[in-house]
């Protein structure tokens, strides 16, 4: 039989687009027995259509019971017989051909071989419906590939440019230097994400915009830290998104107990003086008046009345303002919130329980009490000086009592600040330079202005902003060398703490002991026990699991009126605390995918339908039933993979394959109509998302990939857009049954958890790969795979404990060593043109 003749346009390709390539093949002849497979694979990299000729699904056992001596000829047979049917020079399925792949020397085509390893370990190949070798044969093949690749691995720790401080690191360091909380997004452009992380060195490009932003930030932070007696009166407005619920039972974090809603911020007052606090509102429906409590650091400073003639469109705003209030300089918590008028449960048909303001603008039918939209602080008027604040006490470690003492005192302050900011001992000469800034400032406006100017210089310095790594003298491009102690310490602390090394680590680095693997490990273990290692959860875990995407989904207020920003924050916290707990208790990574417990507070527990949790604190809760397992039951994951008005089994399935398994499905081709284009009803019956998906993917070129993705997402479809358990959708009973790509029938989150955990290798390797990219600040390549396999193998022997992965990365050559860089082609040609 001959396949339709078309013209070949494309020559080579990657995974993503290959499925289309099949259409462009020239007269490809197939033996009759492979016809059903060939048909189904023509356009697709991964066919799953059931074939009467397919031998059914086989499993790769986790480890071979008796390791037979690797016989590459046997493995070649397997590849030729089962892989080359599709992965040949003509069909180029999945953008790869194994026709000329030399199985006896996989290392000669390492990137291709690594691709095979990944697909085989995930159990994705050969696809269901294709002929299957014996499980032992597949295992033998993949182990042979891995062994050969590992044995011939090039020892290359990799190379990357130096890193600069990203927003998150910047904020942490400012806190450590000055005890000041800042939001760097006020000044710094956002960090570009590469391979999922915001610290990847080679995309941290320099620009005038960035440099100017660093300068502005330095000037502003120095002034906030020291205070400014001559500060002009200025207004600063903080806003509140409509999605912040301001209901009776919703206190805003930071606001006094006994209040509801409002806004609470950390604001730095430049001087002791008078300030006004004003608030803007969106009025509720049929509300009369409310008391608004204004407090500074928890102390009430004003009680205002809001209300009166309320406009029924709920739009008219009535800003109210306090009298000038005397406030002392420094960073203080300012809260303006409504006094709570009701307590206990109540039922109100007009304003049903749990409904927040979310989406009042768009959805008719949501009622609400007034909502505070903005808080403006203006001042200082009549400033009288600058009182001591926590930050000032930290900065001014000495106070000159006479003119003679000023310079020595300034020297010790400046040296102290620079030592923390530069994350190392500062040299005498450097202090001298900085003292020039002190002198310039002091000459203009006195001692404090001098310190402020020097601080501004320190915060603008490349020693603070960049994490340079010195290259030893006489090293040739391409040569590999170990990092010096200080640089290793810096890598370690930014990996484990997201911040600077502490004294002890610096000492170990300074004395040269840190380069001793035993000391390195001891230091890492010590640092993991320190509370600062929470950054592994809030930075690494959060970026890896894409928790920032939660903010991108706004569940439609009409359908999900109980969703609010507070609930979203709780969901994010749940996952962070869960992850942090894995690190802190050094538990098995596999709990991430299957734990029967989580961490909840009252709000989130109520949302999940779990009783007996009271209060705002998060605590460990054992799931009362089988509904939720590991992070597959976390709202943070379920919401970020939903659309505003419906769940998306596709997005959820894709997330699992991409984030957890490291085998992203190819993206949809253009020209495919969105699911909404499928009618929502059929014969008068409202269709579930599942049913619509089925109709949607009638096209066989869609079904091939969706047959992989959708069953994973459908197994999670009992979770609504907001992660609540449900058994119906649009009034119709849900049907979540599906078949995982390995042939296992699944229909619940617990089933999905089980089927994932059946094959831990792809999960733990994907985790390690991400951990490494984050630790190194560079994307992981195929050259790193042998190291990753080494780390996971050792972790397996340690029960997949978190410390095993983390220490594995820390002890790897990629972490402790570096390859001297070679100028890129562009760089060379550019230099020539100069």
């Amino acid at each position: 039989m001959t396949m339709p003749e078309t013209t070949s346009v494309v020559e080579a390709g990657g995974d993503a687009t290959s499925w289309r390539r099949g259409l462009r093949r020239v007269g490809w002849r197939l033996p009759a027995r492979s016809l059903p497979i060939a048909l189904s694979l023509l356009n697709l990299s991964l066919s799953v259509s059931a074939s009467p000729l397919g031998s059914g699904r086989t499993e790769i056992p986790l480890a071979s019971s008796h390791a037979p001596a690797p016989r590459s000829t046997a493995h070649s047979e397997v590849v030729r017989e089962y892989c080359v049917w599709c992965h040949n020079d003509t069909m180029l399925t999945g953008g790869m051909s194994l026709q000329s792949f030399d199985v006896s020397h996989p290392e000669s085509k390492a990137p291709l071989a690594e691709k095979m390893v990944r697909k085989l370990r995930a159990g994705l190949m050969p696809p269901k419906g294709a002929f299957q070798p014996e499980p032992e044969q597949l295992l033998g093949l993949v182990e042979w590939l891995e062994e050969s690749l590992d044995a011939s691995a090039v020892r290359d720790p990799g190379s990357r440019p130096f890193q600069r401080l990203n927003r998150a690191e910047y904020a942490r360091l400012i806190d450590e230097i000055l005890g000041l909380k800042v939001d760097p997004s006020e000044w710094l452009p956002s960090d570009q994400i590469s391979a999922g992380f915001d610290n990847i060195a080679d995309v941290q490009t320099m620009s005038a915009t960035l440099m100017e932003a660093y300068l502005t930030a330095a000037g502003e932070i120095a002034r906030r830290a020291i205070g400014q007696e001559d500060a002009p009166a200025q207004a600063r407005t903080y806003t509140n998104p409509p999605s912040v619920s301001q209901h009776e039972w919703e206190r805003v974090e930071g606001a006094p107990y006994g209040t509801r809603g409002g806004i609470s911020v950390l604001h730095t007052f430049p001087a002791d003086g008078e300030y006004t606090v004003s608030m803007g509102f969106m009025s509720g429906w049929g509300e009369r008046f409310h008391d608004v409590d204004v407090s500074i650091d928890g102390q009430r400073v004003a009680l205002l009345r809001y209300g009166g003639d309320i406009d029924f469109q709920g739009r008219k705003d009535f800003p109210i303002e306090t009298e000038p209030i005397f406030i002392r300089a420094g960073q203080r918590r300012v809260s303006a919130a409504f006094v709570r008028q009701m307590d206990g449960p109540y039922e109100d048909l007009i304003r049903p329980n749990d409904w927040s303001l979310t989406g009042t603008e768009t959805s008719y039918g949501t009622t609400s009490p007034p909502h505070m939209l903005s808080l403006t602080l203006e001042g200082p008027y009549n400033p009288v000086g600058v009182s001591p604040s926590a930050t000032r006490q930290r900065v001014f470690t000495c106070r000159p009592t006479s003119a003679d003492e000023e310079v020595p005192c300034a020297r010790s302050i400046v040296k102290g600040l620079a030592t923390v900011a530069y994350r190392r001992d500062v040299e005498e000469e450097e202090v001298l330079d900085l003292m020039d800034f002190y002198r310039a400032g002091a000459a203009e406006s006195g001692f404090e202005a001098g310190i402020r100017t020097a601080l501004e210089a320190i915060l603008s310095s490349p020693h603070f902003l960049f994490r340079m790594e010195r290259e030893p003298q006489g090293i040739q491009p391409g040569q590999v060398y170990p990092l010096a102690g200080l640089e290793l310490a810096s890598r370690l602390s930014f990996f484990l703490w997201g911040s600077r090394p502490d004294e002890e680590l610096l000492q170990a680095a300074g004395s040269g002991k840190l380069n001793d693997p035993a000391v390195l490990e001891a230091e890492a273990r010590r640092m993991l026990k320190d509370p600062r290692s929470e950054s592994l959860a809030t930075r690494f875990g959060s970026l890896w699991l894409r928790l920032q995407d939660l903010e991108r989904v706004s569940p439609d207020a009409f359908w999900f009126p109980n969703y609010s920003r507070q609930l979203m924050e709780a969901m994010r916290r749940e996952t962070e605390i869960f992850f942090d707990n894995l690190v802190r208790e050094d538990r098995s990574l596999l709990e991430l995918y299957g734990a029967d417990y989580t961490f909840l507070n009252e709000r989130l527990a109520r949302h999940y339908g779990i009783d007996g949790v009271a209060g705002e604190e998060f605590r460990r809760i054992d799931y009362p039933n089988q509904q939720r397992r590991g992070i597959l039951g976390h709202g943070s994951i379920l919401v970020q993979t939903s659309l505003g008005n419906r769940t998306s089994p596709v997005l959820r399935g894709k997330w699992v394959m991409e984030v957890l398994l490291g085998t992203p499905p190819p993206p949809p081709p253009p020209g495919i109509p969105d699911l909404e284009e499928t009618e929502a009803t059929q014969d008068g019956e409202v269709l579930t998302t599942r049913r619509r998906l089925e109709l949607h993917r009638k096209n066989p070129s869609c079904s091939s990939c969706h047959n992989l993705i959708d069953p994973i997402g459908l197994a999670l479809d009992n979770f609504s857009v907001t992660g609540k358990w449900r058994i119906r959708e649009n009034g119709v009973a849900l049907d979540t049954r599906g078949t995982f790509y390995d042939g296992t029938d699944i229909e619940s989150p617990a089933d999905l958890s089980r089927v994932l955990l059946k094959r831990p290798i792809p999960l733990v390797r994907q985790f390690t790969e991400n951990l490494m990219a984050y630790a190194l600040g560079r994307r992981v390549t195929h050259l790193d795979q042998p190291v990753i396999r080494g780390i996971t193998k050792e972790a397996a022997a340690n029960g997949y404990r978190m410390s095993s992965f983390i220490l594995g990365v820390v002890k790897s050559e990629a972490f402790g060593m570096k390859r001297a860089s070679e100028p890129t082609e562009d760089a060379v040609s550019e230099e020539r043109s100069r």
Binding site: D202, L210, P232, D317
Partner: protein, 460 residues
Amino acid sequence: MNYVTRKTLPRRSFLRAAGATVALPLLDAMTPALRLYGATKSPDRTRLVCIEEVHGVAGCNEWGASRHLFAPAQVGRDFELAADNVLKPLEPWREHLTIVSNTDVRMAEPFAAPEIGGDHFRSSAVFLTQSHPRQTQGSDIHCGVSLDQLHAQRFGDKTVLPSLQLCIESNDKGGGCDYNYSCSYTDCISWSSPNTPLPMIRNPRAAFDMLFGAGGTPQQRAQRRRTQRSILDWVASEVQEMKKHLGAVDRRRVDHYLENVREIERRIQRVEDRNTSGEPRELPDAPPGVPDSFSDHMKLMFDLQILAFQADMTRVISFKTGRDASNRTFPESGSDRAFHPASHHGGKKKGILEFNKICQFRVGQLAYFLRRLEETSDGDSSLLDQALIIWGSPMGDANLHNHRRCPLVLVGGASGRLPGGRHLRAEEGTPMANVFLTLLHEMGHDDLRSFGDSTGEFSL
């Protein structure tokens, strides 16, 4: 402390902008003060604004075109904008519109198999460069020099900032960008060299600081500039010292950094030079951070652009109004559909009309800008007469990810160079780059032989 006495000034407008109500113009109250800059008049003060839309428009689909959702049926002066035409909200300024239909952005098309499908991650870099991005995630990114930067590099020295880059959407989406494309291609429309994308500022407050400097009074701003100057001097020498210990790639990075340091020194110098003729005494308070509402955010960004023009801080602005493949919803458009899914309307009438609602709402934001530009006089004419706004998209029919017959509209008089009030239909296969080449020629780049994949001039 002159601020104390002007409590009713623009702060209120920002307050409202921050709230749910419409943002009021923030610059009315300060016009007299800022007018001082106008004293240094140069003959040509054309303001170039390049605005990118990401998903094309519904009218660039076959059926949408037949309904004239973008390109009007008539060519020339007597074009009619149907009620559902995306440009309908701009009807009041039809005499300032030059609608250019039918041009292609083929540099955004895939050149090799692995590039097929990656259009969303590649297109934005193409819009103003009309060059094909190299498929990579690393530092070897390569595209072209963008139109705005060509102009800024030649004529930008007359203002403090050669150019300004603004955007609306956050770019921290989990995972990063797909298809082995660096997010630089997805997020940056301004390229100062083929491997130097310029970051775009999303926070109105940061943009304000960039334009006017932080500090509450002219004296304080001047003091900050002095400090920054000496810091920059010192930083430059520090870095020279550090360079000795670095590897080849890091040395290059430091060189880039030094170039930036010098650029900022130049900016400070320009501010100082200018201030000899008087600094504006009053500036509005800096706006708060990023508003939740798309519409409020757009208005605030437009306000800042007008402020920048009025104070003549820059004459070149690029503005990215969306992020490809974004799932943001625009309930005010009358559609509750997410942006990206809606753009994949499957070529069906119902879906196209639904997507069109979103397109019209997004394009309609321009009306606010045009009104403000028109109301703001600058010398003998309005800013709108002097402006050249290039609004367009590197995508045509987002449903198919195609880059043919893309939408392009020129707005403003470009200081008398654009007659306006016309619909020009390009011949089949005309590159959008031809229009850009002609515009560059018009703006004084006479010696430019080609731009991107241009094949010749386009008669405007």
